[in-house]
């Protein structure tokens, strides 16, 4: 990408670790010497509400907010949330989305319907879509909390810097929690990368 500012939008719901994931992406951008701004609507977000975290980096970042239609990457921690923010992408942007569906009480009460086919809707809208079940991957690795690192692994090959820089930032975060946790996260990161690569190959074939 030879653009001045890179815009990455990370979305999900309160409690999923969206803000932490964006912070780690920001640390990676800082490590490369970029100017960085990160913003989100927080406050009531921890109550299971919508969370969208904006990350912008480049030589000099002014407004912290991503203008609709200018996000280069959309990282969706939840299927319907990826749909909610689809319009933020540039025309050739890519959406990396977790297929896991988390229904809010208003859907369980029958007041609203959950979209029938989030991945299909995203594809029909004309953007590039890579979908994978990050929760299942994390469960297979033995800890649902690894979902966050799986998501970061998924985005790793769609950034204007090498995946290793991001991996190092993640592992640094977990360093004080011991070698076992570091290894688990290394595996989760690799699994996220592999899931996206595998889906992309299927699409090409």
């Amino acid at each position: 990408m030879s653009i001045a500012t890179t815009n990455i939008l990370v979305v999900g719901i309160g409690g999923q670790g969206v803000m932490t994931a964006t912070e780690i992406l920001a640390e990676a951008a800082i490590a490369l010497g970029h100017d960085v701004k990160k913003t989100e609507v927080a406050g009531m977000a921890q109550r299971g509400g919508v969370v969208s975290s904006h990350l912008r980096f480049g030589p000099k970042v002014l407004s912290p907010q991503i203008t609709p239609g200018t996000a280069h990457v959309l990282l969706g921690f939840e299927a319907a949330e990826a749909m909610r923010w689809r319009h933020m992408l540039v025309p050739d942007g890519i959406a990396l989305m977790n297929t896991a569906q988390l229904t809010p009480p208003v859907v369980d009460l029958g007041l609203y319907d959950y979209p029938a086919d989030p991945v299909g809707s995203m594809k029909d809208s004309g953007c590039r879509v890579v979908a994978f079940d990050a929760m299942a991957i994390a469960k297979d690795l033995g800890d649902i909390r690894l979902g966050n690192t799986v998501m970061l692994g998924a985005v790793a090959d769609h950034l204007p810097f090498s995946a290793d820089i991001l991996l190092n930032c993640i592992l640094q975060r977990f360093a004080r929690k011991g070698e076992k946790v570091v290894e688990q996260n290394r595996k989760a990161f690799a699994a996220g990368r592999a899931a996206v690569a595998a889906t992309a190959e299927v699409a090409l074939a």
């Binding site: 406050g43 002014l62 912290p64 949330e81 909610r84 208003v106 009460l109 319907d113 004309g126």
Partner: protein
């Protein structure tokens, strides 16, 4: 939070505006910092409390926090106070006379406006306090400026012996950006000097101080005119120039990089001459300010021709696409499409109460009681107005549930004559501003049943400590309020005060049903902790036995987000009526075993996940 070793000077750190202000407060040698939590301002004091060498406190409300800071500043020490925008409404009684006394030690008051309403009941513009109280206002545009202007604020405050307002918005407080931090400078306070003509504000004293206040304001205006915080960037496209401040500056630069801009960092008193200078540079001027047309009106009164809220929105953030659209319209150009694709239609996802929240039991119960009006308050329990409970009828400001309930009682119309009036308030909100309202209910013999939801935390802002949980800002032990004794001391009869466990639905239901029938003030106190705090202890999770679930949907009415409907069916009852059936599952990984959903489950289909046998213990009532 415990004190940690601060990061060394010259480090370049990713900091939110709140963290940057906190660092600057420590570096400026502040001795006393006080606040009441409130989004988006909360983290300032949370972070300050982790620094050594200063005193930090959670005050019971914003007015007290300002008064604590004022006392420290009178004593010659540097002090700090921060609050969300509505907090200043509470503190303003002190503020409006503080401007007459001024200060000895530096005082910076950070006020965070929630532009865009991320977590507030209104969107007000705190820059008005600068005009109202004749005080200087500084407006940073990002974290680095928040850091620098906080430190500059102390110099300004001491030079002019005036409290300084640092005006922040959500887009400063909660944006993380790179900040280069510096050294801490020790500030030695001069000590309190008796000066009754200044510190004891009487009518005659105020009459003597008023002219001094206006002299000070004139001197501050002269300072603003030459301040390096107010800068003209000449630009290359002189057709249109902008006067702006705060985060709106970043939006203007993003949208119109070639345009002349006057960026106001020291925005009150307004540097009128500087604004004229910018106007002389360009064909037309637009004032871009969040959110009221404050500067615009002042400049127009000075005869400066300009545009403002006639072309820009009156509400919300002035982000680049908003600005581009407005200016295109002004120029008669086609308005650029915001996005290539229209936003997809997806269900709303409003904030919900947490899994196992003790308030769930209260709102489930209230939703089952008929013929009541419920005055609500500010906190997590405001969410009780939403689905599925729909059990909150009013909410305006901190502590208002008490007075509003009394007014609903005294002002009841003919159609309400049989209505029972309830008020719902949290522990911290009660201590913040509710106590006086309850005293008013008692004194004026109102017929109100108060539900005091004591979850031992300021829940909505992240579970901060308060006098109700017996822990100070650092988590150390502090005297704890006894709510039963407190409400009795305010005059509620002992037999009208009940302490109940909100997870025991039959007990709660009985207490509410009985107290609303009694025509005098009563208080029902719930006593279980917020699930997000350390005081909460998880229990064994539950699951639903599919073969036993009849789809009655009673558990769904509890409103716990761990309960999900797996399928819906229609059924015809023996009386011929059609009913909706909702078969459910419990997200066992999220369930913490509070047992609320077990109690209304008609077929006893909810069981402990590990045992998979029916549990009847909770149904003994």
């Amino acid at each position: 939070m415990a004190a940690i070793a601060p990061v060394p000077a010259q480090s370049r750190l990713l900091m939110s505006g709140n963290e940057a202000v906190a660092r600057a407060v420590w570096e400026a040698g502040v001795k006393v910092a006080a606040a009441y939590p409130g989004t988006p301002a909360t983290e300032m004091l949370e972070v300050i409390s982790t620094y050594p060498d200063l005193y930090a406190e959670w005050s019971v409300n914003e007015k007290v926090s300002l008064e604590v800071a004022v006392g420290a500043a009178y004593a010659g020490s540097r002090s700090f106070c921060c609050m969300k925008h509505v907090g200043m409404n509470v503190a303003s009684d002190a503020l409006m006379t503080l401007t007459l006394t001024g200060v000895a030690g530096g005082l910076v008051i950070a006020v965070a406006d929630d532009v865009g309403l991320s977590s507030s009941q209104n969107e007000q513009d705190s820059r008005y306090w600068g005009r109202f109280a004749h005080l200087p206002v500084l407006e940073p545009a990002d974290s680095q400026e928040a850091y620098e202007m906080t430190k500059l604020g102390y110099e300004l405050s001491e030079r002019f012996q005036v409290p300084v307002i640092l005006r922040l918005t959500t887009r400063i407080c909660h944006v993380k950006a790179l900040v280069t931090v510096g050294e801490r400078q020790e500030h030695v306070g001069a000590g309190f000097k008796k000066e009754p003509a200044r510190w004891v504000m009487t009518p005659s004293g105020a009459a003597r101080r008023l002219p001094l206040m206006f002299e000070r304001e004139a001197a501050l205006k002269a300072e603003a005119e030459v301040s390096p915080l107010n800068v003209i960037e000449a630009g290359s496209d002189r057709r249109l120039g902008f006067i702006t401040s705060g985060p709106a500056y970043m939006h203007v630069k993003e949208a119109f990089p070639e345009a002349p801009v006057l960026k106001l960092g020291f925005s009150s008193p307004a540097p009128i001459d500087k604004c004229r200078e910018l106007a002389a540079l360009c064909d037309e001027v637009v004032v871009v300010e969040e959110v009221e047309p404050l500067l615009e009106t002042e400049l127009k009164a000075q005869g400066i021709a300009l545009r403002g809220k006639d072309i820009l929105p009156r509400i919300g953030e002035l982000a680049p696409p908003v600005l581009k659209a407005a200016i295109a319209k002004l120029r008669g150009e086609p308005v650029p499409a915001v996005t290539a694709v229209a936003p997809m239609q997806v269900f709303p996802r409003p904030p919900t109460m947490c899994v196992a929240c003790p308030h769930l039991g209260v709102y489930y119960t209230l939703s089952q009681v008929r013929n009541i009006t419920i005055a609500g308050d500010i906190g997590c329990y405001t969410l009780g107005a939403g689905h599925p409970w729909n059990a909150l009828d009013t909410c305006i400001s901190m502590g208002a549930s008490m007075g509003v309930a009394l007014g609903l009682d005294k002002g009841r119309g003919e159609s309400d004559k049989d209505k029972r009036i309830l008020a719902v308030i949290g522990d911290s909100t009660f201590l913040h501003m509710g106590m006086q309202g309850l005293l008013d209910i008692v004194y004026n013999q109102g017929n109100v049943t108060v539900l005091l939801l004591d979850n031992r935390a300021v829940g909505m802002t992240g579970g901060q400590n308060n006098p109700g949980n017996g822990l100070d800002i650092h988590g150390n032990e502090a005297p704890r309020v006894d709510f039963v004794k407190l409400v009795q001391a305010l005059g509620v009869k002992p037999e009208r005060v009940h302490k109940v466990n909100p997870y025991e639905l039959p007990v709660l239901f009985k207490a509410i049903r009985e107290e609303v029938k009694v025509a005098e003030p009563s208080v029902i106190i719930t006593d279980q902790p917020c699930v997000l705090t350390e005081a909460y202890h998880k229990l064994k999770p539950f699951t639903v036995m599919d073969d036993k679930c009849t789809g009655c949907g009673n558990c769904v009415e509890v409103g716990c987000p761990a309960i999900h409907v797996t399928r819906r069916e229609k059924a015809i009852k023996p009386n011929g009526r059609e009913v909706d059936l909702n078969f459910v599952r419990i997200e066992t990984a999220a369930c913490t075993g509070c047992g609320l959903c077990v109690q209304p489950c008609a077929p006893d289909a909810i069981v402990h996940a590990e045992t998979v046998v029916p549990i009847n213990i909770l149904k003994k009532h």
